[in-house]
Protein backbone atom coordinates (compact mmCIF):
# COMPACT_ATOMS: atom_id res chain seq x y z
CA UNK A 1 0.00 0.00 0.00
CA UNK A 2 1.25 3.45 -0.89
CA UNK A 3 1.41 6.44 1.43
CA UNK A 4 -0.70 8.49 -0.97
CA UNK A 5 -3.64 6.24 -0.13
CA UNK A 6 -3.60 7.07 3.56
CA UNK A 7 -1.97 10.50 3.88
CA UNK A 8 -3.93 13.52 5.02
CA UNK A 9 -4.11 16.15 2.29
CA UNK A 10 -5.12 19.35 4.10
CA UNK A 11 -2.05 20.03 6.17
CA UNK A 12 -1.94 22.87 8.67
CA UNK A 13 1.37 24.71 8.27
CA UNK A 14 3.21 27.89 9.35
CA UNK A 15 6.17 29.89 8.03
CA UNK A 16 9.57 30.19 9.73
CA UNK A 17 8.73 33.84 10.39
CA UNK A 18 5.71 32.89 12.51
CA UNK A 19 6.06 32.89 16.29
CA UNK A 20 5.76 30.37 19.10
CA UNK A 21 2.46 32.03 20.00
CA UNK A 22 1.11 31.40 16.48
CA UNK A 23 2.14 27.76 16.70
CA UNK A 24 0.50 27.23 20.10
CA UNK A 25 -2.73 28.79 18.90
CA UNK A 26 -2.98 26.94 15.62
CA UNK A 27 -2.25 23.57 17.24
CA UNK A 28 -4.88 24.11 19.90
CA UNK A 29 -7.42 25.28 17.36
CA UNK A 30 -6.89 22.31 15.01
CA UNK A 31 -6.23 19.74 17.73
CA UNK A 32 -2.95 18.71 16.10
CA UNK A 33 0.47 17.96 17.49
CA UNK A 34 2.72 18.31 14.44
CA UNK A 35 3.27 21.41 12.37
CA UNK A 36 5.37 21.40 9.20
CA UNK A 37 7.12 24.71 8.60
CA UNK A 38 7.20 25.68 4.94
CA UNK A 39 8.44 28.42 2.63
CA UNK A 40 6.29 30.54 0.33
CA UNK A 41 6.69 27.94 -2.40
CA UNK A 42 5.58 25.02 -0.17
CA UNK A 43 9.04 23.56 0.51
CA UNK A 44 9.35 21.91 3.91
CA UNK A 45 12.13 23.57 5.89
CA UNK A 46 11.29 22.42 9.38
CA UNK A 47 8.83 20.82 11.74
CA UNK A 48 7.68 21.69 15.21
CA UNK A 49 5.77 19.47 17.62
CA UNK A 50 3.71 20.13 20.71
CA UNK A 51 6.53 18.60 22.72
CA UNK A 52 9.04 21.11 21.34
CA UNK A 53 6.70 23.90 22.38
CA UNK A 54 6.24 22.53 25.88
CA UNK A 55 9.98 22.69 26.36
CA UNK A 56 10.03 26.30 25.34
CA UNK A 57 6.95 27.34 27.31
CA UNK A 58 7.22 25.11 30.40
CA UNK A 59 3.94 25.99 32.08
CA UNK A 60 1.39 28.67 31.41
CA UNK A 61 0.59 28.66 35.14
CA UNK A 62 4.05 29.82 36.10
CA UNK A 63 4.60 33.56 36.70
CA UNK A 64 8.27 33.30 36.18
CA UNK A 65 8.25 32.56 32.48
CA UNK A 66 9.62 35.15 30.24
CA UNK A 67 6.68 36.40 28.21
CA UNK A 68 9.07 37.04 25.36
CA UNK A 69 9.19 33.30 24.60
CA UNK A 70 5.89 33.69 22.79
CA UNK A 71 7.55 36.05 20.33
CA UNK A 72 10.39 33.70 19.40
CA UNK A 73 10.42 32.99 15.68
CA UNK A 74 9.79 29.37 14.71
CA UNK A 75 12.92 29.43 12.53
CA UNK A 76 14.90 29.47 15.77
CA UNK A 77 13.20 26.52 17.49
CA UNK A 78 12.00 24.23 14.73
CA UNK A 79 13.73 20.97 13.83
CA UNK A 80 15.39 21.87 10.57
CA UNK A 81 15.26 19.66 7.47
CA UNK A 82 13.02 16.99 8.99
CA UNK A 83 12.70 13.47 7.65
CA UNK A 84 10.08 13.38 4.89
CA UNK A 85 8.61 10.75 2.62
CA UNK A 86 7.22 10.54 -0.90
CA UNK A 87 3.56 9.74 -1.73
CA UNK A 88 4.69 6.61 -3.55
CA UNK A 89 6.67 5.19 -0.65
CA UNK A 90 5.24 2.06 0.91
CA UNK A 91 3.26 2.39 4.12
CA UNK A 92 5.25 -0.53 5.54
CA UNK A 93 8.54 1.31 4.88
CA UNK A 94 7.29 4.45 6.54
CA UNK A 95 6.33 2.45 9.62
CA UNK A 96 9.97 1.44 9.93
CA UNK A 97 11.01 5.09 9.56
CA UNK A 98 8.68 6.08 12.40
CA UNK A 99 10.01 3.32 14.58
CA UNK A 100 13.74 3.72 13.98
CA UNK A 101 13.73 7.52 14.17
CA UNK A 102 11.19 7.77 17.00
CA UNK A 103 9.16 10.43 15.25
CA UNK A 104 5.44 11.12 15.46
CA UNK A 105 4.72 12.43 11.98
CA UNK A 106 6.07 12.42 8.47
CA UNK A 107 5.53 15.31 6.05
CA UNK A 108 4.97 13.95 2.53
CA UNK A 109 6.88 15.84 -0.14
CA UNK A 110 6.72 15.65 -3.91
CA UNK A 111 8.63 17.93 -6.33
CA UNK A 112 9.95 19.82 -3.31
CA UNK A 113 6.42 20.74 -2.26
CA UNK A 114 4.48 19.59 0.79
CA UNK A 115 1.55 17.47 -0.42
CA UNK A 116 0.41 15.68 2.73
CA UNK A 117 1.21 14.34 6.16
CA UNK A 118 0.87 11.04 7.98
CA UNK A 119 0.97 10.64 11.73
CA UNK A 120 1.49 7.67 14.01
CA UNK A 121 -2.27 7.58 14.58
CA UNK A 122 -3.01 7.25 10.84
CA UNK A 123 -0.48 4.50 10.63
CA UNK A 124 -1.86 2.65 13.64
CA UNK A 125 -5.36 2.83 12.19
CA UNK A 126 -4.09 1.43 8.91
CA UNK A 127 -2.49 -1.43 10.75
CA UNK A 128 -5.73 -2.18 12.56
CA UNK A 129 -7.37 -2.32 9.14
CA UNK A 130 -4.67 -4.65 7.88
CA UNK A 131 -5.41 -7.09 10.70
CA UNK A 132 -9.02 -7.15 9.51
CA UNK A 133 -10.18 -6.58 13.08
CA UNK A 134 -12.69 -3.91 12.08
CA UNK A 135 -15.05 -6.06 10.00
CA UNK A 136 -17.26 -9.04 10.84
CA UNK A 137 -15.20 -12.19 11.01
CA UNK A 138 -13.88 -15.06 13.08
CA UNK A 139 -10.26 -15.54 14.02
CA UNK A 140 -8.34 -18.78 13.66
CA UNK A 141 -4.77 -19.48 14.77
CA UNK A 142 -2.80 -22.25 13.09
CA UNK A 143 0.70 -23.54 13.84
CA UNK A 144 2.53 -24.42 10.62
CA UNK A 145 6.05 -25.63 9.81
CA UNK A 146 8.37 -22.82 8.73
CA UNK A 147 8.87 -24.03 5.15
CA UNK A 148 8.25 -22.56 1.67
CA UNK A 149 4.80 -23.03 0.17
CA UNK A 150 3.03 -23.59 3.46
CA UNK A 151 0.77 -20.58 3.07
CA UNK A 152 -0.44 -22.09 -0.19
CA UNK A 153 -1.31 -25.35 1.56
CA UNK A 154 -3.28 -23.51 4.22
CA UNK A 155 -5.07 -21.23 1.80
CA UNK A 156 -6.13 -24.26 -0.26
CA UNK A 157 -8.36 -25.21 2.67
CA UNK A 158 -10.03 -21.80 2.60
CA UNK A 159 -10.47 -22.09 -1.14
CA UNK A 160 -12.14 -25.48 -0.80
CA UNK A 161 -14.60 -24.05 1.71
CA UNK A 162 -15.34 -20.93 -0.33
CA UNK A 163 -14.23 -18.90 2.67
CA UNK A 164 -13.30 -15.28 2.22
CA UNK A 165 -10.06 -14.47 4.05
CA UNK A 166 -10.02 -10.96 5.52
CA UNK A 167 -6.42 -10.94 6.70
CA UNK A 168 -3.41 -13.10 7.39
CA UNK A 169 -0.70 -12.29 9.91
CA UNK A 170 2.41 -14.40 10.36
CA UNK A 171 4.13 -14.58 13.74
CA UNK A 172 7.23 -16.50 14.79
CA UNK A 173 6.45 -19.39 17.13
CA UNK A 174 7.96 -18.47 20.50
CA UNK A 175 8.21 -22.11 21.49
CA UNK A 176 9.85 -23.55 18.40
CA UNK A 177 11.60 -21.64 15.63
CA UNK A 178 10.90 -24.47 13.20
CA UNK A 179 7.28 -23.30 13.23
CA UNK A 180 5.28 -20.20 12.52
CA UNK A 181 1.89 -19.12 13.77
CA UNK A 182 -0.65 -17.92 11.24
CA UNK A 183 -3.43 -15.69 12.52
CA UNK A 184 -6.20 -15.65 9.98
CA UNK A 185 -9.45 -13.70 10.04
CA UNK A 186 -12.17 -15.19 7.88
CA UNK A 187 -15.51 -13.73 6.91
CA UNK A 188 -17.76 -16.29 8.54
CA UNK A 189 -19.74 -16.84 11.69
CA UNK A 190 -19.39 -20.59 11.41
CA UNK A 191 -15.70 -21.52 11.15
CA UNK A 192 -16.28 -25.16 12.13
CA UNK A 193 -16.00 -26.76 8.68
CA UNK A 194 -12.90 -24.73 7.88
CA UNK A 195 -11.31 -25.79 11.16
CA UNK A 196 -12.14 -29.42 10.39
CA UNK A 197 -10.60 -28.95 6.97
CA UNK A 198 -7.41 -27.52 8.48
CA UNK A 199 -7.14 -30.40 10.93
CA UNK A 200 -7.76 -32.95 8.18
CA UNK A 201 -4.97 -31.33 6.18
CA UNK A 202 -2.72 -32.00 9.16
CA UNK A 203 -2.44 -28.52 10.65
CA UNK A 204 -2.47 -27.79 14.35
CA UNK A 205 -5.30 -25.37 15.13
CA UNK A 206 -4.38 -23.37 18.25
CA UNK A 207 -7.60 -21.39 18.42
CA UNK A 208 -10.41 -22.17 18.78
CA UNK A 209 -9.15 -24.97 20.96
CA UNK A 210 -11.51 -25.27 23.84
CA UNK A 211 -10.56 -27.45 26.79
CA UNK A 212 -13.26 -30.08 27.30
CA UNK A 213 -14.58 -29.71 23.73
CA UNK A 214 -12.43 -31.25 21.06
Amino acid sequence: MLIEEIMKLDVVTLFPSNTVKDALEIMLENKIRHLPIITEDQAVVGIITDRDLKEIVPSTMSDSIDKNVYDIKLSEVMTKNPITAHPMDFVEESAVVFYTNQIGSLPIVSNNKLVGIITETDLLYKYIELTGAHQPGSQIEVRVPNIPGILFEVSKVFYEHKTNVLSVLVYPDKENSANKILVIRIKTMNPLQVIDGLKTAGFEVLWPNVPGIS
Binding site: A133, H134, Q135, P136, G137, S138, Q139, H161, K162, T163, N164, R185, K187, T188, M189, N190, P191, L192, Q193, W207, P208, V210, P211, G212, I213
Partner: protein, 397 residues
Protein backbone atom coordinates in the same frame (compact mmCIF):
# COMPACT_ATOMS: atom_id res chain seq x y z
CA UNK B 1 -57.93 -15.62 36.34
CA UNK B 2 -55.87 -18.58 37.42
CA UNK B 3 -56.33 -22.10 36.23
CA UNK B 4 -54.32 -25.15 37.11
CA UNK B 5 -52.60 -27.17 34.43
CA UNK B 6 -50.27 -29.84 35.70
CA UNK B 7 -47.62 -28.25 37.87
CA UNK B 8 -48.18 -24.75 36.58
CA UNK B 9 -50.49 -21.98 37.64
CA UNK B 10 -51.54 -20.22 34.45
CA UNK B 11 -51.82 -16.44 34.37
CA UNK B 12 -52.49 -15.50 30.81
CA UNK B 13 -50.50 -12.36 30.54
CA UNK B 14 -48.15 -13.40 27.77
CA UNK B 15 -48.61 -14.45 24.14
CA UNK B 16 -46.48 -16.83 22.10
CA UNK B 17 -46.08 -15.96 18.42
CA UNK B 18 -45.81 -19.01 16.23
CA UNK B 19 -46.97 -20.74 13.10
CA UNK B 20 -45.45 -23.54 11.06
CA UNK B 21 -44.59 -21.05 8.32
CA UNK B 22 -41.81 -19.73 10.56
CA UNK B 23 -39.94 -22.94 9.79
CA UNK B 24 -39.56 -21.86 6.18
CA UNK B 25 -36.48 -19.87 7.25
CA UNK B 26 -34.11 -22.72 6.49
CA UNK B 27 -30.72 -22.56 4.74
CA UNK B 28 -30.07 -26.32 4.50
CA UNK B 29 -30.24 -29.45 6.61
CA UNK B 30 -26.57 -29.20 7.54
CA UNK B 31 -26.62 -25.48 8.42
CA UNK B 32 -26.18 -24.70 12.13
CA UNK B 33 -29.13 -22.28 12.15
CA UNK B 34 -32.06 -24.66 12.48
CA UNK B 35 -35.60 -23.56 13.35
CA UNK B 36 -36.47 -27.07 14.44
CA UNK B 37 -35.45 -25.74 17.83
CA UNK B 38 -38.75 -23.81 17.93
CA UNK B 39 -40.70 -27.02 17.37
CA UNK B 40 -38.69 -28.74 20.10
CA UNK B 41 -39.29 -25.85 22.49
CA UNK B 42 -43.01 -25.60 21.82
CA UNK B 43 -43.42 -29.34 22.22
CA UNK B 44 -41.54 -29.24 25.52
CA UNK B 45 -43.78 -26.44 26.76
CA UNK B 46 -46.93 -28.27 25.66
CA UNK B 47 -45.88 -31.52 27.29
CA UNK B 48 -44.97 -29.62 30.46
CA UNK B 49 -48.41 -28.03 30.52
CA UNK B 50 -46.87 -24.56 30.40
CA UNK B 51 -48.64 -23.45 27.24
CA UNK B 52 -52.03 -23.97 25.64
CA UNK B 53 -53.22 -23.27 22.10
CA UNK B 54 -55.01 -20.16 23.33
CA UNK B 55 -51.63 -18.62 24.21
CA UNK B 56 -50.42 -18.91 20.62
CA UNK B 57 -50.91 -16.21 18.01
CA UNK B 58 -49.90 -16.64 14.37
CA UNK B 59 -47.34 -14.16 13.04
CA UNK B 60 -48.17 -11.84 10.19
CA UNK B 61 -45.79 -11.04 7.36
CA UNK B 62 -43.99 -7.71 7.38
CA UNK B 63 -44.91 -5.49 4.43
CA UNK B 64 -42.24 -3.99 2.19
CA UNK B 65 -42.94 -0.57 3.72
CA UNK B 66 -42.26 -1.99 7.15
CA UNK B 67 -39.02 -3.57 5.97
CA UNK B 68 -37.99 -0.21 4.49
CA UNK B 69 -37.95 1.14 8.07
CA UNK B 70 -34.59 -0.58 8.55
CA UNK B 71 -33.52 -1.89 5.16
CA UNK B 72 -32.59 -0.56 1.72
CA UNK B 73 -35.03 -1.18 -1.13
CA UNK B 74 -32.23 -2.49 -3.34
CA UNK B 75 -31.23 -5.12 -0.77
CA UNK B 76 -34.82 -6.30 -0.34
CA UNK B 77 -35.13 -6.54 -4.11
CA UNK B 78 -32.00 -8.71 -4.32
CA UNK B 79 -33.30 -11.01 -1.55
CA UNK B 80 -36.62 -11.36 -3.40
CA UNK B 81 -34.91 -12.23 -6.67
CA UNK B 82 -32.40 -14.60 -5.03
CA UNK B 83 -35.18 -16.59 -3.38
CA UNK B 84 -36.87 -17.00 -6.78
CA UNK B 85 -33.65 -18.03 -8.52
CA UNK B 86 -33.72 -14.90 -10.65
CA UNK B 87 -30.23 -13.69 -9.80
CA UNK B 88 -26.78 -15.26 -9.90
CA UNK B 89 -25.07 -16.16 -6.63
CA UNK B 90 -22.02 -14.02 -7.38
CA UNK B 91 -24.20 -10.93 -7.86
CA UNK B 92 -25.63 -11.37 -4.36
CA UNK B 93 -22.37 -11.62 -2.48
CA UNK B 94 -22.03 -7.91 -1.88
CA UNK B 95 -25.43 -8.11 -0.19
CA UNK B 96 -24.13 -10.81 2.15
CA UNK B 97 -26.21 -13.63 0.70
CA UNK B 98 -25.08 -16.64 -1.27
CA UNK B 99 -22.21 -17.02 1.20
CA UNK B 100 -21.40 -20.11 3.27
CA UNK B 101 -22.92 -18.41 6.32
CA UNK B 102 -26.06 -17.10 4.67
CA UNK B 103 -26.77 -19.20 1.58
CA UNK B 104 -29.67 -18.54 -0.76
CA UNK B 105 -32.76 -20.69 -0.20
CA UNK B 106 -36.14 -20.82 -1.92
CA UNK B 107 -38.58 -18.08 -0.92
CA UNK B 108 -35.91 -16.43 1.16
CA UNK B 109 -37.71 -13.10 1.17
CA UNK B 110 -41.09 -14.50 2.21
CA UNK B 111 -39.56 -16.55 5.03
CA UNK B 112 -37.46 -13.66 6.29
CA UNK B 113 -40.35 -11.18 6.10
CA UNK B 114 -42.45 -13.59 8.15
CA UNK B 115 -39.88 -13.64 10.97
CA UNK B 116 -39.95 -9.84 10.99
CA UNK B 117 -43.75 -9.91 10.90
CA UNK B 118 -43.75 -12.18 13.93
CA UNK B 119 -41.83 -9.63 15.94
CA UNK B 120 -44.19 -6.88 14.73
CA UNK B 121 -47.14 -9.03 15.83
CA UNK B 122 -45.49 -9.33 19.24
CA UNK B 123 -44.98 -5.56 19.34
CA UNK B 124 -48.64 -4.81 18.55
CA UNK B 125 -49.88 -7.25 21.18
CA UNK B 126 -47.81 -5.57 23.86
CA UNK B 127 -48.00 -1.93 22.78
CA UNK B 128 -51.78 -2.09 22.32
CA UNK B 129 -52.11 -3.48 25.83
CA UNK B 130 -53.62 -6.82 24.83
CA UNK B 131 -50.74 -8.64 26.50
CA UNK B 132 -48.15 -7.61 29.04
CA UNK B 133 -45.43 -9.66 27.37
CA UNK B 134 -44.98 -11.34 24.00
CA UNK B 135 -42.47 -13.86 22.69
CA UNK B 136 -41.40 -14.47 19.09
CA UNK B 137 -38.74 -17.16 19.11
CA UNK B 138 -38.49 -16.94 15.33
CA UNK B 139 -36.99 -13.45 15.61
CA UNK B 140 -33.74 -12.14 17.04
CA UNK B 141 -31.77 -11.94 13.79
CA UNK B 142 -29.44 -9.32 15.17
CA UNK B 143 -26.64 -9.41 12.55
CA UNK B 144 -28.80 -8.15 9.68
CA UNK B 145 -27.62 -4.78 8.34
CA UNK B 146 -29.46 -2.03 6.46
CA UNK B 147 -28.23 -3.18 3.08
CA UNK B 148 -26.60 -6.52 3.76
CA UNK B 149 -27.24 -9.90 5.32
CA UNK B 150 -24.68 -11.26 7.75
CA UNK B 151 -24.14 -14.17 10.13
CA UNK B 152 -27.24 -16.25 9.26
CA UNK B 153 -29.46 -13.15 9.41
CA UNK B 154 -31.25 -11.72 6.37
CA UNK B 155 -33.66 -9.08 7.69
CA UNK B 156 -33.17 -7.66 11.14
CA UNK B 157 -36.52 -8.07 12.87
CA UNK B 158 -35.45 -6.18 15.98
CA UNK B 159 -34.26 -3.15 14.02
CA UNK B 160 -37.51 -3.06 12.04
CA UNK B 161 -39.57 -3.56 15.20
CA UNK B 162 -37.83 -0.78 17.11
CA UNK B 163 -38.33 1.70 14.24
CA UNK B 164 -41.96 0.53 14.08
CA UNK B 165 -42.40 1.10 17.83
CA UNK B 166 -40.93 4.58 17.52
CA UNK B 167 -43.10 5.50 14.56
CA UNK B 168 -46.40 3.97 15.64
CA UNK B 169 -46.21 4.29 19.41
CA UNK B 170 -43.59 6.99 20.01
CA UNK B 171 -41.93 4.96 22.75
CA UNK B 172 -38.37 4.86 24.08
CA UNK B 173 -36.94 1.38 23.60
CA UNK B 174 -34.36 -0.48 25.62
CA UNK B 175 -32.87 -3.36 23.60
CA UNK B 176 -31.06 -6.04 25.59
CA UNK B 177 -29.07 -8.67 23.70
CA UNK B 178 -27.68 -11.66 25.60
CA UNK B 179 -26.70 -13.72 22.55
CA UNK B 180 -23.07 -14.88 22.74
CA UNK B 181 -22.36 -12.86 19.58
CA UNK B 182 -22.34 -9.05 19.54
CA UNK B 183 -25.67 -7.54 18.47
CA UNK B 184 -23.96 -5.48 15.79
CA UNK B 185 -26.85 -5.01 13.34
CA UNK B 186 -29.20 -3.53 15.92
CA UNK B 187 -26.47 -1.44 17.52
CA UNK B 188 -25.45 0.25 14.26
CA UNK B 189 -29.11 0.88 13.33
CA UNK B 190 -29.56 3.07 16.41
CA UNK B 191 -26.02 4.27 17.01
CA UNK B 192 -27.00 7.93 16.58
CA UNK B 193 -30.42 7.66 18.19
CA UNK B 194 -30.75 8.94 21.78
CA UNK B 195 -34.22 7.38 22.17
CA UNK B 196 -33.09 3.80 21.64
CA UNK B 197 -30.64 2.24 24.06
CA UNK B 198 -28.88 -0.92 22.90
CA UNK B 199 -27.13 -3.20 25.37
CA UNK B 200 -25.16 -6.25 24.30
CA UNK B 201 -23.43 -8.82 26.50
CA UNK B 202 -21.33 -11.14 24.40
CA UNK B 203 -18.12 -13.09 24.12
CA UNK B 204 -15.28 -10.71 23.28
CA UNK B 205 -14.78 -10.16 19.57
CA UNK B 206 -11.08 -10.91 19.77
CA UNK B 207 -11.72 -14.29 18.19
CA UNK B 208 -15.45 -14.56 17.79
CA UNK B 209 -17.67 -13.25 15.01
CA UNK B 210 -18.48 -10.43 14.37
CA UNK B 211 -15.43 -8.98 16.15
CA UNK B 212 -17.14 -5.76 17.23
CA UNK B 213 -18.80 -4.78 20.52
CA UNK B 214 -15.97 -3.27 22.51
CA UNK B 215 -16.75 -1.08 25.52
CA UNK B 216 -15.63 1.97 23.56
CA UNK B 217 -18.60 1.65 21.18
CA UNK B 218 -20.90 3.97 23.10
CA UNK B 219 -22.99 5.60 20.39
CA UNK B 220 -22.43 8.67 18.30
CA UNK B 221 -23.51 12.30 18.29
CA UNK B 222 -26.85 12.70 20.09
CA UNK B 223 -26.83 8.95 20.60
CA UNK B 224 -23.58 9.02 22.56
CA UNK B 225 -24.11 7.12 25.80
CA UNK B 226 -27.03 5.03 24.52
CA UNK B 227 -25.00 2.08 23.25
CA UNK B 228 -23.55 -0.27 25.84
CA UNK B 229 -21.28 -3.22 25.26
CA UNK B 230 -20.10 -5.83 27.73
CA UNK B 231 -17.57 -8.08 26.01
CA UNK B 232 -16.89 -10.96 28.37
CA UNK B 233 -13.94 -13.29 28.09
CA UNK B 234 -13.99 -16.72 26.48
CA UNK B 235 -14.63 -19.42 29.15
CA UNK B 236 -16.70 -17.06 31.28
CA UNK B 237 -18.95 -19.05 33.65
CA UNK B 238 -22.39 -18.37 35.11
CA UNK B 239 -21.49 -16.29 38.15
CA UNK B 240 -19.39 -13.80 36.27
CA UNK B 241 -21.85 -13.65 33.34
CA UNK B 242 -24.73 -12.97 35.70
CA UNK B 243 -22.84 -10.39 37.71
CA UNK B 244 -22.17 -8.44 34.52
CA UNK B 245 -25.75 -8.93 33.31
CA UNK B 246 -27.52 -7.98 36.54
CA UNK B 247 -25.38 -4.97 37.34
CA UNK B 248 -25.49 -3.64 33.80
CA UNK B 249 -29.21 -4.11 33.23
CA UNK B 250 -30.27 -2.66 36.58
CA UNK B 251 -28.14 0.46 36.23
CA UNK B 252 -28.88 1.04 32.57
CA UNK B 253 -32.64 0.55 32.87
CA UNK B 254 -32.81 2.93 35.80
CA UNK B 255 -30.68 5.44 33.91
CA UNK B 256 -32.44 5.22 30.53
CA UNK B 257 -36.04 4.88 31.73
CA UNK B 258 -37.47 3.03 28.74
CA UNK B 259 -41.17 2.76 27.83
CA UNK B 260 -40.71 -0.77 26.58
CA UNK B 261 -38.02 -3.46 26.72
CA UNK B 262 -37.10 -5.69 23.78
CA UNK B 263 -34.85 -8.61 24.66
CA UNK B 264 -32.91 -10.79 22.23
CA UNK B 265 -32.55 -14.21 23.81
CA UNK B 266 -29.91 -16.09 21.86
CA UNK B 267 -29.20 -19.37 23.60
CA UNK B 268 -25.62 -19.81 22.42
CA UNK B 269 -23.75 -18.80 25.57
CA UNK B 270 -24.03 -22.38 26.87
CA UNK B 271 -21.01 -24.62 27.29
CA UNK B 272 -22.38 -27.07 24.72
CA UNK B 273 -22.82 -24.48 21.98
CA UNK B 274 -20.53 -25.41 19.09
CA UNK B 275 -19.98 -21.88 17.75
CA UNK B 276 -18.95 -19.99 20.88
CA UNK B 277 -16.55 -20.38 23.80
CA UNK B 278 -18.56 -19.25 26.80
CA UNK B 279 -19.16 -21.64 29.69
CA UNK B 280 -22.72 -20.82 30.66
CA UNK B 281 -25.11 -23.42 32.05
CA UNK B 282 -28.89 -23.59 31.81
CA UNK B 283 -29.06 -21.41 34.94
CA UNK B 284 -28.26 -18.24 33.03
CA UNK B 285 -31.26 -18.85 30.75
CA UNK B 286 -33.45 -18.96 33.78
CA UNK B 287 -31.97 -15.84 35.35
CA UNK B 288 -31.85 -13.66 32.21
CA UNK B 289 -35.63 -13.44 31.63
CA UNK B 290 -36.30 -13.13 35.36
CA UNK B 291 -34.53 -9.81 35.59
CA UNK B 292 -35.90 -8.65 32.22
CA UNK B 293 -39.43 -9.19 33.49
CA UNK B 294 -38.65 -7.48 36.78
CA UNK B 295 -37.31 -4.43 34.94
CA UNK B 296 -40.28 -4.34 32.54
CA UNK B 297 -42.70 -4.48 35.44
CA UNK B 298 -40.83 -1.83 37.40
CA UNK B 299 -40.20 0.70 34.65
CA UNK B 300 -42.46 -0.12 31.68
CA UNK B 301 -45.82 -1.23 33.10
CA UNK B 302 -44.85 -4.72 32.06
CA UNK B 303 -44.21 -3.98 28.37
CA UNK B 304 -41.71 -6.62 27.36
CA UNK B 305 -41.18 -8.17 23.96
CA UNK B 306 -38.78 -11.08 23.69
CA UNK B 307 -37.30 -12.62 20.57
CA UNK B 308 -35.07 -15.65 19.98
CA UNK B 309 -31.65 -15.48 18.34
CA UNK B 310 -28.68 -17.80 18.16
CA UNK B 311 -28.57 -21.26 19.69
CA UNK B 312 -26.80 -24.06 17.88
CA UNK B 313 -27.10 -26.99 20.24
CA UNK B 314 -30.72 -27.40 19.30
CA UNK B 315 -31.21 -30.70 21.15
CA UNK B 316 -29.61 -30.38 24.56
CA UNK B 317 -29.69 -26.64 25.17
CA UNK B 318 -32.14 -24.51 23.21
CA UNK B 319 -35.48 -26.19 24.07
CA UNK B 320 -34.83 -26.04 27.80
CA UNK B 321 -33.36 -22.53 27.62
CA UNK B 322 -36.26 -21.11 25.65
CA UNK B 323 -38.85 -23.00 27.67
CA UNK B 324 -37.45 -21.20 30.72
CA UNK B 325 -37.99 -17.90 28.92
CA UNK B 326 -41.69 -18.54 28.31
CA UNK B 327 -42.21 -20.00 31.78
CA UNK B 328 -40.60 -16.94 33.36
CA UNK B 329 -42.67 -14.67 31.13
CA UNK B 330 -45.76 -16.23 32.65
CA UNK B 331 -44.53 -15.85 36.19
CA UNK B 332 -44.56 -19.59 36.70
CA UNK B 333 -42.21 -21.36 39.06
CA UNK B 334 -39.03 -22.63 37.47
CA UNK B 335 -39.49 -26.30 36.66
CA UNK B 336 -37.05 -28.78 38.17
CA UNK B 337 -36.37 -32.48 37.93
CA UNK B 338 -37.04 -34.71 34.94
CA UNK B 339 -38.31 -33.39 31.62
CA UNK B 340 -41.62 -34.87 30.50
CA UNK B 341 -40.78 -38.42 29.50
CA UNK B 342 -42.99 -38.30 26.41
CA UNK B 343 -40.92 -35.34 25.17
CA UNK B 344 -37.64 -37.21 25.65
CA UNK B 345 -39.11 -40.32 24.04
CA UNK B 346 -40.50 -38.38 21.10
CA UNK B 347 -37.19 -36.72 20.18
CA UNK B 348 -34.36 -38.96 21.35
CA UNK B 349 -34.52 -41.10 18.22
CA UNK B 350 -34.02 -38.05 15.98
CA UNK B 351 -31.30 -36.48 18.08
CA UNK B 352 -27.68 -37.17 17.11
CA UNK B 353 -26.66 -36.65 20.76
CA UNK B 354 -27.99 -37.98 24.04
CA UNK B 355 -30.67 -35.61 25.27
CA UNK B 356 -30.37 -34.11 28.72
CA UNK B 357 -33.36 -35.54 30.52
CA UNK B 358 -33.69 -33.05 33.34
CA UNK B 359 -34.43 -29.33 33.50
CA UNK B 360 -31.07 -28.93 35.22
CA UNK B 361 -27.76 -29.48 33.50
CA UNK B 362 -25.75 -32.53 34.57
CA UNK B 363 -23.20 -31.76 37.27
CA UNK B 364 -20.35 -31.33 36.61
CA UNK B 365 -20.93 -30.14 33.06
CA UNK B 366 -17.26 -29.55 32.30
CA UNK B 367 -13.81 -29.67 33.84
CA UNK B 368 -12.90 -26.71 36.07
CA UNK B 369 -11.48 -23.70 34.27
CA UNK B 370 -7.86 -23.06 35.25
CA UNK B 371 -8.06 -19.27 34.90
CA UNK B 372 -11.46 -18.69 36.45
CA UNK B 373 -10.32 -16.01 38.90
CA UNK B 374 -8.50 -13.98 36.27
CA UNK B 375 -11.47 -14.18 33.90
CA UNK B 376 -13.86 -13.08 36.63
CA UNK B 377 -11.59 -10.21 37.62
CA UNK B 378 -11.16 -9.12 34.01
CA UNK B 379 -14.92 -9.14 33.42
CA UNK B 380 -15.47 -7.11 36.60
CA UNK B 381 -12.99 -4.50 35.44
CA UNK B 382 -14.65 -4.37 32.03
CA UNK B 383 -18.06 -3.90 33.67
CA UNK B 384 -16.73 -1.05 35.74
CA UNK B 385 -15.31 0.73 32.68
CA UNK B 386 -18.37 0.19 30.54
CA UNK B 387 -20.71 1.64 33.17
CA UNK B 388 -18.48 4.51 34.18
CA UNK B 389 -20.30 6.88 31.85
CA UNK B 390 -23.62 6.60 33.69
CA UNK B 391 -22.09 6.31 37.13
CA UNK B 392 -20.27 9.61 36.60
CA UNK B 393 -23.51 11.31 35.57
CA UNK B 394 -25.31 9.98 38.60
CA UNK B 395 -22.65 11.26 40.98
CA UNK B 396 -22.69 14.72 39.45
CA UNK B 397 -26.46 15.07 39.92
Amino acid sequence: MAECTGNFVMKKNAVFIYSKEQLGYSFSDSHPFNQKRIVLTLDLLKKSGAITDSDIIAPRTATDDELFLAHDAKFIDVVKKAGKGEIKEAACEMYGIGTEDTPIFPNMHEASAMLVGGTLTAVDEVMSGRARHALNLGGGLHHGFKGRASGFCVYNDSSVAIKYIQQKYGARVLYIDTDAHHGDGVQWSFYDDPDVCTVSIHETGRYLFPGTGSITERGNGKGYGTSFNFPIDAFTEDESFLEVYRTAIKEITEHFKPDVILTQNGADAHFFDPLTHLYGTINIFHEIPRLAREMANKYCEGRWIAVGGGGYDIWRVVPRAWAHLWIEMNGLDAPTGPLPTDWVKRWQSESPVSLIETWEDPVPLYKPIPRKEEITEKNAQMLEQALQIIREKRESC
